[in-house]
Amino acid sequence: MKVLVAIKRVIDPYVKIRVKQDHSGVETQNVKMAMNPFDEIAVEEAIRLKEKGLVEEVIVVSIGDKSVQETLRTGLALGADSAIHVETDQLFSSLLIAKILKQMVQKTGSQLIILGKQAIDSDNAQTGSMLAALLEWPLASFASKIMLQGDKCQVTCEVDGGLQTVELTLPAVITTDLRLNTPRYASLPNIMKAKTKPLTVIPFNSFDISPNMDMHTIDVSPPPVRKAGIKVASVQELVEKLRHEAKVLL
């Protein structure tokens, strides 16, 4: 059985985000990029399934410009068998991405798709569920535990106020949450091996999908700057200010 893992290249979560001067987006020039952390968890889970002998092949796929190949190589270094780069310079909405992934699922003949629950840049948390809807496959989102047995998959999902365990029949889509696993480190021998693993490039225009944007970004603005705090000389003054200026005391 083949597992397809979708990964997105995002700004490294440790980088301080800066909004572009013209408010058209955030600054990505010369900014450190990394694999979306939830996708890293998805890759790790797929590799663990393979190490347990439950799946035969792990394929990572990413959509974006040439630079995503670096992220794909990281996926290969972690243990994926092959990679697919869908090449485009455009930034697509979740729905367009889901449409592309649907075709990739069909092309690769994958039976299980694992994705991060959301990308930390757009924070939409939509691609996985849209993909499941397009494929008309069952979906388990925000997984914190996955148990695969034959064509049945038991998934523990993080829901508001607790955990929910569901059973899916493959083929299926799963999105990962933080507690699912701790991703491993890329070891040097595996990084070297990754260099010779197959990475196929497919141009976006070879898909029968209209690139028309169904979503437009109108404005990206930084959060308002917090006002500096003040120091008060006494408790009385503090109470006074809380009452008359902040108006939080009666």
């Binding site: 490294d12 440790y14 990394a34 070891s187 040097l188």
Partner: protein, 464 residues
């Protein structure tokens, strides 16, 4: 003079808000990170300006009161410890960056500026202050200068000394000196600035510094290399250094890693444990990454390195660094006896071997933790106190052990302190690094700057 009188007189100089006298404050402010010294100061004074420092020093000369300068109190030598009713001078309230000169890329700061704050200030201006270590969130620039602090980037950027372009000091005699004034070149006789760098508060008080900032390094990557033998490490460093800009080359043992894992509750970074690890940081680029991979691959093929992991993002970068940086803290509960020794890097392999032989033969029951800035020839050997021994008994045995270890240091022309300083803890061993004639000159120098011996007396060497 009794404490009340001291408090009264100092209040008249700095105001009574800038004095602390209560028990808790005295226990906190009169002590650094050394664990076996009991503080007993008279009080703590917090000057707010250079002129207040001058008046405090003049008062101390007048009253023959000893002063102990106290920075971030992260020292490991007892340099900032007050044990005999000294007045502790703290720079907590002189913590401002006074000026930034973008043309010269220098900052003028007060002594109490926290090292990390200077680093952040540099980053905000797209520059870099490269002196860094695990305690930089607490240590102060004044303390760093007074100890000539080193840290994890010495291999690339050198010690604190390299970045101090100017110093204001108030000597023990109460004179204010403006040393070197930020100049790059200055061939006008003795450069007294360098005497104050590393003087551990014994010559005077550092009241202001002009610090040079560096350009921002390119993005760096860090790798953790697992090795079988610790005596091949210098060889490995040289392999990398030929073709790469190595910015850190640190080493630690599996035993050290175990303590960190236990303390921070994290799992092992490698599938298979290795006896020793090297944390290597280098300046990354597409080209350098390839060079790095190639070199590492050939080291693995020749078995000098057994396994390696490489940071793929900043979270991993920070995690790998934390394995090294959390060692000291994870050991502190064992009351470790800490060595901070150095030899020339080329001598490291034999040196380590001899120390290991010695310890195995004489103290087979002690747990020995190896780590250090191996690229600088600096080893932080830590001996952990066995539970069954009392602290005092343990330190007594360790002092004996030190005579043997320091004899080896002496034989290899090394130093008994690479970067922490002599302070109180190591003064009885100073002769293993410096002979009597040299120590004699040091004493004379102290007398010139501090006639009445009020500046941190009893540190580095005993009062004569």
């Amino acid at each position: 003079m009794n404490t009340e009188t001291i408090a009264e007189e100092l209040s008249s100089l700095v105001g009574n808000k800038n004095i602390l006298i209560d028990y808790d404050s005295r226990m906190i402010y009169a002590k650094d990170r050394t664990q076996n010294l009991i503080p007993d100061p008279s009080l703590i004074v917090f000057p707010r300006s250079e002129s207040q420092i001058i008046s405090i020093v003049q008062w101390a000369n007048h009253t023959r009161t000893a002063l102990v300068p106290s920075g971030g109190r992260t020292g490991y030598s007892g340099g900032a410890v007050a044990q005999s009713k000294e007045v502790v001078v703290s720079f907590d309230k002189m913590n401002h960056i006074l000026a930034y000169n973008s043309e010269d890329q220098t900052v003028r700061c007060q002594p109490g500026v926290i090292t990390k704050n200077l680093q952040n200030f540099a980053l905000e201006n797209n520059l870099y202050y490269p002196v860094d270590f695990a305690s930089s969130g607490s240590s102060q620039i004044g303390g760093n200068i007074a100890t000539n602090a080193g840290g994890i980037k010495v291999i690339r950027y050198g010690l604190t000394r390299n970045w101090v372009y100017g110093l204001n000091v108030v000597t023990g005699n109460g004179d204010l000196l403006h040393l070197n004034k930020g100049l790059i070149k200055n061939a006008s006789g003795y450069d007294l600035r360098h005497l104050f760098i590393g003087s551990e508060g014994t010559l005077g008080i550092i009241t202001e510094a002009i610090i040079k900032l560096s350009t921002l390094p390119s993005e760096s990557k860090v790798a953790l290399l697992g090795v079988q033998e610790k005596n091949t490490m210098v060889e490995i460093l040289n392999i990398y250094r030929k073709d790469l800009q190595v910015t850190a080359f640190e080493f630690f043992s599996e035993a050290a890693l175990k303590h960190v894992m236990c303390e921070s509750n994290i799992s092992h970074p490698f599938k298979r444990a290795m006896p020793f690890y090297i944390l290597l940081e280098y300046e990354s680029s597409e080209f350098n990454d390839e060079v790095f991979l190639g070199l590492t691959e050939s080291c693995i093929n020749s078995s000098s390195i057994n396994d390696a992991i490489i940071s793929q993002n900043m979270a991993q970068y920070k995690y790998l660094w934390s394995l090294r940086e959390n060692i000291s803290m994870s050991l502190s509960k064992y009351l470790p006896y800490k060595y901070d020794i150095s030899v020339m890097p080329s001598k490291i392999p034999v040196f380590i071997e001899e120390i290991e032989d010695l310890l195995n033969k004489t103290y087979p029951d002690f747990e020995i933790i190896w780590f250090g800035h191996i690229g600088d020839g600096n080893l932080h050997l830590n001996i952990l106190k066995p539970v069954e021994l009392k602290g005092s008994e343990f330190f007594e045995i360790c002092d004996e052990m030190s005579d043997a270890i320091y004899s080896l240091v002496n034989y290899y022309n090394g130093s008994i302190s690479a970067e922490h300083g002599i302070g109180l803890l190591k003064k009885k061993f100073l002769r293993y690094t410096k002979n009597d004639v040299e120590i004699g000159y040091m004493r004379e120098i102290k007398k010139i700057f501090d006639k009445n011996n009020i500046m941190n007396p009893g540190k580095i060497f005993d009062d004569s």
